[in-house]
Amino acid sequence: MGEVLAFWFFAALTIGCALLALLHRNVVNSAFALLGTLLGLAGFYVLLAADFLAMTQVLIYAGGILVLILFGLMLTPPVTNERRFGRILVAVAVVGLGAVAFWEKARGAVWHAAAREELAAPAGTVREIGLEFLRRDSWLLPFELASVVLLAGLVGAVYIARRRFPREDV
């Protein structure tokens, strides 16, 4: 019962905030609404007994990525002639396609941990994740490759963004 209630609470939070993010007129407010979505998702991870993932979600997405999004928004000049209708259309299309693509999976999914016996055991997820990432026969190579790709992206972004401007002395 508790899990079910929590599930609906997080679902409402996630979807409500997602809609708010989509529909709000002010783009900064949309970004802030995303916080609710991200926290709701973190809640789902907790329900699925993936504590580490949930905390990572909060730390990286809410505390990091969202801050960067806001940073980016505030550095961008405001868009004056935006069309909300177009955004909604795109969103509906994406959600629809996703639903069609994952319909079979989604129908059979179990959304909270209590219903599944193997997840009900106390989880020490950090250790397993760490081992998985660092074992040679497991995910070590993709993990390291991803970090190299990210680093390359970072360097490229810095290179592209950095410019030298002549400025007049007032």
Binding site: L75, R162, R164, F165, P166, R167, V170
Partner: protein, 390 residues
Amino acid sequence: MDDTTMERPLREGERLVELDVRTQDVEINMGPQHPATHGVLRVLLRADGEILTGAQSHLGYLHRCAEKIGESVDWLQYLPYTDRYDYLSAMNNNLAYSLAVEKLLGIEVPERAQYIRVILAELNRICSHLVAVGTYGLDIGAFTPFFYALRERELLLDIFEKICGARLTYAFIRPGGLMNDAPAGWTDQVRAFTDLFERKWREYWDLLVDNKIFVERTANVGVISEEQAIAWGCTGPMLRGSGVDWDLRRDQPYLVYDRLDFEVVVGQGYRGTVGDCFDRNYVRMYEMLESNRIVRQCLEQMPEGEIQHPEVGLVLRPAPGEAYVGIENPRGELGHYLVSDGNKIARRLRVRGPSFSNLALAEHLLPGCMLADAAAIIGSVDIVVGETDR
């Protein structure tokens, strides 16, 4: 954005500013009510993120018509008004005005009065620099040195209170001499202070000036070149901080300064470039020590005798003529230009205030700096708005 690509040759008056990302400029009002503007100064800043792209200072919020008042009150009655343009160094203001009036009158005050004047002027310089260094710490974000500086200033104010009865606006050094002679025990109090001060000075140095963060915040920030400083008419620590060896006390000696042994402190880029904010503060720091030395010498050399010129009374009628006397105020050259038509009221009175000229350059240092540097640069100029606006 094509206008701002890298390959175009720089136009005159432009310089290359390196920015990570260029965004819309923000116009932001610093002041007239802002903690870092030392009074009711308003600086209109244009900023691209944290980096300033333009600055314009707006003066006049504290304009009190000092010069015009000077043309409508007696020569002596104007004296209390001089206290009020740079209220942190009122003794020096009194002295500047008195010397100018004495030049008009063509008199020289008795020797004892001259020595007491030097002592008071130098103590007042310490007083003023203590506030300058302390509030500079506040601008940079260090609170405590300010209180330590005010603690020693309090001792100085006690000394002033003992001799003249006032703690901030003295009206004590007046044309013809002094209001009063030093009371008994006063010289001992001054001597005790000079001994104490050297010990306390180390504390300011260790706590504030030598602090790594302070050095990082001030070194290489707001650099004024030698030529720039001269061209903009900077005086005082602002000029000497840029490496120009010029001090009116030595180069155009007045009172008994030519009999005293002291060094003129000049910025030398101790932690960065010559002429940066650190150097201006450095000059103030060491000037306090030099003033301390001067006070000691004066105490030793001071003769007994009169403190007031016998022919100068309460109502003055200088012969028609004009006079300009500039003295080395804590903030630079404070000059009075006086014109007399033989009346007991000045025909024309004009004040050349150091903060006003120094501030003019400050706003040209701001573009290209960061927002936090604005506080550091304006603080390093050490303006007193009462004087810029008069």
